[in-house]
């Protein structure tokens, strides 16, 4: 963690000189980064992905046979439902990204460019939706909006027709995803600062014109990266389309993949082929993003110090705060209320009445030491470990891709894109196929390390996208200047680039932590025998009809996963005396 605290941006000439005396360390640092990125990515992404491709080609791979190659390809791809499901998938991804942008961009613009009262509190509240597992949030919404749900019990009406529609599904998913835009774009806007738009103002542009023509276009890397992430999250999300989409008769690829691997006879090759279709979709989205980014130069962080004073909101203060409050209520307040209400109910059918109130579910979590507490410890540890490994690997990989001219960086870039759209279940299958080979002398399979590998693979795109966007905005002249003063590449990375991308990196690591500590789909399949994560514990309770206990556990987890990052941030800030992120 120390590297991240190295806050001083300009290396003193003396230090730079001593670094230069170390001689060849520049190229060493460069190639070390390349090797770490290459080996790390191959291990985390390349191995499971290779086995998925092999499985798609060789249907008998699971039994160690390469018989009948390509025999399943035609059958799966000629499924008459496939084009419609692919279209549905893209439509859902676009809808969720669009609604997330509608919610997230205005919030981010106000947060990044203006003095919003209570900004830190709003940041914290906007982090909460990300801590609520999507399948839990969806169940919460169902229990709130369905007939006789909590809304009806409190207000006398229900919104079931809206919830069980396409729009309702996209809206619920967007409430879970928009923080990606809020954090990504508000940071970018802060970095873009008022400086460039001030220049525009000097030359006579109106504030709006300056925003539309200067600030917004310059923040496109952050926005494009966030939109791509949301699109990818939406097309690989399983829980919400499964719970809400079926009512609307809306099948997507992921629900079909799940069906193929849970319906005997298990169709692993079919699932793999469909998963590769998903990867293709996400890859196309990535190519669009690259076109947008490569067309222009977005470097805004030069060597000059920037004193950026945010503007006061003025008369806008009240409506803006109301907007923040409304979104915070919808995205954090309402689902949390539903979760807590269910966890505190003796029976579901009892409803929101005083004599149905009980703490029994929470005391069962506390008493059930073996099960619940062990699952919590494992999930939180895995969350921290995933954040560290995926965060560092992601930062190094995007550095190699953006800032060096290494050969093979396109391959590295591709490896970081692939997991974007690999559904968790398919990653899990790839990992089992790869690591359960009888000839392997040691294998992470059937230890918790396999979960770490799965989470790193699934979540790697988060730090990669965030840090790539940040690196795109750092002028090459900063690095060149340091090199002139004799700093090695390693020193440049550590003393200049890392501190500058640290806010984005830390933000993405927090997201990785939050998602890893509650990942469900892959955990269900690859969890070592006898081991439970938080999500599989909760899922077991739901499956047995103990919804209250499951919701209690979900609530405890949400509180803990929200508090742990704050504790880390406070420690970081104490240690560095420097405002890292929140």
């Amino acid at each position: 963690m120390q590297t991240m605290n190295g806050a001083s941006v300009s290396a003193s000439p003396l230090e730079a000189h001593s670094a230069a005396k170390k001689g060849l360390s520049g190229d060493d640092g460069h190639s070390a980064a390349l090797w770490i990125a290459a080996i790390g990515l191959l291990l985390v992404v390349g191995v499971p992905f290779t086995f998925i491709v092999l499985q798609a080609i060789f249907p008998e791979l699971g039994r160690g046979s390469l018989a009948a190659p390509f025999s399943n390809l035609g059958k799966t791809l000629s499924d008459p439902l496939l084009p419609r499901m692919a279209l549905n998938t893209v439509g859902l991804g676009v809808a969720v990204a669009a609604i997330s942008a509608l919610i997230g961009v205005p919030l981010a613009a106000f947060r990044g460019l203006f003095k919003v009262p209570g900004a830190k509190v709003w940041d914290a509240l906007m982090l909460v939706p990300f801590m609520i597992p999507p399948y839990i949030a969806t169940l919460g919404w169902i229990m709130t909006l369905q007939p006789n749900g909590y809304l009806q019990q409190l207000a006398g009406f229900n919104l079931a027709p809206f919830l069980f529609s396409l729009g309702g599904m996209a809206f619920v998913m967007a409430l879970n995803c928009f923080p990606v835009i809020y954090f990504g774009v508000s940071r970018t806007l802060e970095a873009v600062g008022g400086r460039y738009s001030d220049v525009g103002r000097v030359f006579g542009a109106s504030p709006w014109r300056a925003f539309w023509r200067i600030t917004l276009p310059l923040s496109i890397p952050g926005l494009a990266a966030s939109l791509l992430l949301i699109f990818a999250m939406a097309i690989e999300e399983y829980g919400t389309p499964a719970a809400l989409g079926r009512h609307a008769g809306f099948e997507v690829l992921v629900t079909q993949i799940e069906l193929r691997v849970s319906d005997w006879p298990i169709d692993l090759p079919g699932a793999s082929i469909m998963a590769l279709t998903l990867v293709l979709l996400s890859f196309s989205a990535f190519l669009v993003q690259r076109r947008v980014l490569s067309a222009r130069n977005f470097q805004t962080t030069g060597g000059k110090p920037q004193a950026f004073n945010k503007r006061p909101l003025g008369p806008l203060a009240v409506p803006v705060l109301m907007f923040f409050a409304l979104i915070a209520f919808l995205a954090a307040g309402a689902p949390l209320f539903a979760i807590l209400a269910t966890a505190l109910s003796r029976t579901i059918s009892g409803g929101l009445v005083l004599d149905n109130l009980t703490l029994a579910n929470f005391s069962r979590i506390y008493e059930d030491g073996a099960g619940a507490l062990k699952a919590l410890t494992l999930s939180l540890s895995l969350g921290v470990a995933t954040a560290i490994v995926a965060g560092l690997l992601g930062a190094i990989a995007s550095y190699v891709v953006v800032k060096t001219k290494s050969r093979g960086r396109f391959l590295l870039d591709t490896l970081t894109i692939i997991p974007n759209a690999l559904p968790g279940i398919v990653v899990a299958i790839g990992l089992v196929l790869a690591w359960n080979q009888p000839w392997l002398p040691v294998s992470p399979y059937n230890t918790s390390l396999i979960l770490l590998l799965a989470y790193c693979c699934i979540l790697l795109p988060q730090p990669v996208r965030y840090t790539t966007a940040a690196l795109h905005q750092i002028g090459d002249n900063l690095e060149a200047a340091a090199r002139v003063f004799g700093a090695s590449r390693m020193v440049v990375f550590r003393r200049i680039l890392l501190p500058l991308i640290a806010p984005s990196l830390v933000a993405s690591m927090l997201l990785v932590f939050a998602v890893a500590s509650r990942e469900l789909v892959a955990s269900l399949l690859v969890a070592p025998v006898g081991t439970h994560t938080v999500a599989s514990f909760i899922w077991r309770q739901f499956e047995q009809g103990s919804v209250g206990l499951g919701m209690g556990m979900a609530f405890v987890t949400i509180v803990l996963t929200t508090l742990v990052p704050f504790a880390i941030l406070i420690l970081l800030r104490r240690a560095s005396g420097h405002d890292a992120m929140l």
Partner: protein, 317 residues
């Protein structure tokens, strides 16, 4: 620095990983989780043999076995669908074994290679607070009183739901399902997912709920009633099998014996499943109390895709 952090993270991962890699016997099982936890603890207390458990839905368990096929680790499999036992036997993956404790298990619940652990039946799960009359028959749920108030578990996701669909279709054709659809019934995920809206009162009844989940809810004080239609229903025996790649076949056989022992069967009864042995008491309707629809499983499963296609065509309209 970065490398050492990497190493630290890896070491950390190792530290949190529990030492479950090599154990005495490994059991893969469909739910209920509390039952297998109980059985494993009881078996270990009795024999000293440790049991490692992987519990998931039947589908997830099968997916794991399929993906692990190159290097399988499972010794004993407990599925929620008898179809698994038939299919695995055909593949020659099972060890023939007849437990001495299986004497009182009726013949239709055991084969050379599999024996039922317990049995569940499908029923109508109905919420008495829903303001609807108490249903008695499957066809009642197509009446106007239940308009838009019925959930049907997805036969593509639940083996027993599929068998019920096939059995009722054989009995009276697709008309019943068309009527249900016209009456606003919806297909709602797997079993627990279909039940929750009924508990909260969003729906009045589940058409073909797995009985033991609802019975357990009833014990907890949920407002739910379980009705077995007199016209008949289907049962889902849960086969226990020993895999032929198991290196601990003797321990595995002991485990099967334990599941069928008085103690094991009492644990089965405590989760509101029907015990496989007819001489073990349970506080719930037993196989003898139910009218069980006969189905020709071979014929039914060979037409599975066709049946599901027809079902989906009705409900996707």
């Amino acid at each position: 620095m970065r490398i050492s952090l990497f190493a630290a993270a890896a070491a950390f991962g190792l530290a949190v990983s529990s030492s479950t890699a090599m154990a005495d016997i490994t059991v893969y099982t469909a739910g209920p989780a509390s039952l297998i936890d109980d059985l494993a603890a009881g078996f270990t207390a009795k024999t000293g043999v440790k049991v490692n458990v992987f519990q998931a839905t039947t589908g997830k368990v099968m997916a794991r076995i399929e993906a692990e096929a190159a290097n399988p680790v499972v010794d004993v499999l407990i599925s929620a669908s008898w179809d698994t036992a038939t299919d695995f036997a055909k593949r020659g993956w099972l060890v023939p074994y007849t437990s001495p404790n299986a004497v009182n298990v009726p013949d239709f619940l055991k084969t050379d290679t599999a024996v039922a652990q317990g049995v569940s039946a499908l029923a109508i799960a109905w919420n008495p607070k829903s303001g609807t009359p108490k249903p008695a028959e499957w066809s009642d749920l197509a009446k106007p009183e239940y308009k838009d108030l019925v959930n049907i578990p997805d036969p593509a996701q639940s083996g027993s739901a599929f068998e019920l669909t096939a059995a009722l279709e054989a009995q009276s054709g697709w008309k019943l399902f068309e009527d249900l659809k016209d009456n606003g019934a919806v297909v709602a995920g797997a079993n627990a997912e279909a039940l929750n809206p009924v508990l909260q009162g969003a729906k009045a009844a589940v058409f073909g709920a797995v009985d033991y989940i609802s019975l357990a809810g009833m014990k907890k004080g949920e407002s739910i009633d379980v009705i077995f239609p007199a016209s008949g229903t289907v049962i889902a025996p849960r086969p226990v099998m020993i895999l032929n790649w198991s290196k601990q076949q003797d321990d595995a056989k002991q485990f099967v014996d334990y599941v069928l022992s008085d103690e094991g069967q009492a644990k089965v009864a405590a989760t509101a499943l029907m015990p496989a042995r007819t001489d073990v008491k349970a506080d719930r309707p037993l196989i003898g109390d139910l009218n069980i629809l006969k189905i020709d499983t071979d014929a039914v499963y060979s037409k599975r895709e066709e049946t599901l296609g027809k079902f989906n065509a009705i409900f996707a309209k």
